[in-house]
Symmetry: C2
Subunit: 307 residues, 2 copies
């Protein structure tokens, strides 16, 4: 496999949802969300994402259309009787904390991911934030993948640790935010936590630190990219999923886990996440031109250029 | 003036103190501290610091000796009857917060900085964290300086804002941590705060973010250097002063405010601060060899090298 720019397939399995969000900047009701939505749209700027997820009858053609507009393969999206997963939350002043006001799993409660035959040859797989038992089911159906990455959240660390550890043993890359990394390992520094997570199985761990940037730890490798500095934030929902989507989209475009490709991936994840938080739902990442992407990317690179 | 490596004089005016500190890693009693101590020892690895400060009779020759050991000019340290400034504090779990248990100003209460004639030609001046009215007095005595930098703290922002703004109008570089920058400006993002601070007078503002690194904002320039990742921390006291000392020591060695020199300065401040927090008092920065400095510095540069 060479590292040239071939658009390899990136399979993304995660949630498809409607989010109702209140932030200090405003509110959005029943807006498109879910880990797979943010991740696949972000990835679509670099790769050809294939999405697997479940929606209810209220997830309309115009919603599916948003994926199609980005060249995302939607054959793996199953529409079933009932309502789509709905999350309602409120962010506090300065976005320091958020409360979940309602989580209605709806059709997501019985989600049993089936990977379509046409998707099984995908060389990159992203297990976005869902129940680790479902992530394991996906792993069993994607044994040909060259690179498998996962995301998770505090809820699974608290309630499904054993399954989560099984997933960790089988993936190449894990994404976590710093609180989750500390919670999972019981360590109090990101360095200590990262070392412990690497010992649990993954080759690489990416620690997302929100406005403070992102760290990547691997064998004899530590990379850091700061977040884009923003004068305003509208809605942080999905920023982590967007980061992972941008990261993996870029990585699958590059085709290997070389140091330089991982650094590119960190940059792309960071840039995509910066656009995501500037609008509600997926609006911030829905129609970005190359000029916008490149300008933010060079600003970021310039900030850490020492000479 | 060329930018070659001439050891220009760096005048540092600040507090000389004894600190009694409890942290999750242990405790130190009546250990050497104060903004001028940390800053001058850190700067001494790059420059020839000249110190102005006041101590009491309990500040012994062995304490002064620590400065002399680092080639620091101590003719500006005045020893007067009474006791040295004493600060006592306690850091909480994971160093997230600290309480001040006691502040005994002692001889520092009547400190009236007089810059010795031999110091007045210093081309770089650092007004370390002291009462802004005293910083103004120093400014009046150092009108030949090419580059003046200042530090401050929340206490002065709350109690001496008018004087502080006068100092800000007269300096080239200001150091603040992120909380102070937000407090001073009423903004809630570092980017917004930095822009407002630049509008108050300084050419450059350096925002110290502790374990999250440091940002430098200037005219058409934003630089960022992450903090060194540490698996253990012993005592964060003086880390900010150490950062400023390393930064200004390196900058005075380089001799100009070129982009590349500012980036070098950020790196040096970051490296020195990382050693500082690994021990109590000034112990972490007292006997560092070139090998240790260079190894940590290249690790840091490697972390943000993209290609």
């Amino acid at each position: 496999m060479n590292g040239a720019a071939s658009r390899e397939n990136l399979l993304i399995v995660g949630s498809l949802a409607f989010d109702s969000v209140e932030t200090p900047s405003g509110r959005a009701d029943m807006a498109m969300g879910g880990s797979a939505s943010f991740a696949s749209i972000a990835a679509s700027y670099f790769a050809s994402p294939l999405v697997v997820g479940v929606v209810g009858e209220d997830f309309e053609d115009r919603h599916i259309g948003k994926f199609r507009d980005h060249g995302i393969d939607v054959r793996g999206i199953e529409r079933v009787p009932g309502k789509t997963f709905h999350w309602r939350g409120r962010y506090h002043e300065n976005f320091k904390e958020r409360d979940t006001l309602e989580t209605a799993l709806n059709v997501f409660e019985t989600f049993d991911p089936v990977i379509p035959d046409a998707y099984r040859s995908a060389s990159f797989v992203f297990l976005a934030n869902i129940d680790p038992d479902l992530q394991l089911k996906v792993l069993d159906q994607t044994s040909d993948a060259r690179v498998v990455a996962m995301d998770t959240m505090n809820f699974w660390i608290e309630t499904a640790r054993e399954s989560l550890e099984k997933v960790l043993r089988r993936v190449d890359i894990v994404f976590m935010n710093d609180e989750e990394a500390l919670q999972l390992t019981g360590d109090w520094t990101v360095l200590g936590a990262a070392r412990k997570i690497l010992a649990m199985g993954p080759k690489y761990v990416v620690i997302k630190r929100g406005e403070y940037g992102a760290l990547l730890f691997g064998p004899d490798l530590t990379l850091f990219v700061p977040a884009v500095l923003l004068a305003d934030v509208v809605d942080p929902t999905g920023a982590g999923d967007t980061f992972a989507g941008g990261f993996l989209g870029q990585l699958s475009l590059r085709g290997s886990l070389d140091r330089a490709h991982l650094a590119e991936a960190l940059i792309s994840g960071t840039v995509m996440a910066s656009f995501s938080v500037e609008a509600f739902s997926v609006d911030g990442i829905c129609s970005l031109g190359a000029e916008k992407l490149n300008s933010r990317r060079s600003g970021l690179e310039d900030m850490i250029r020492l000479r």
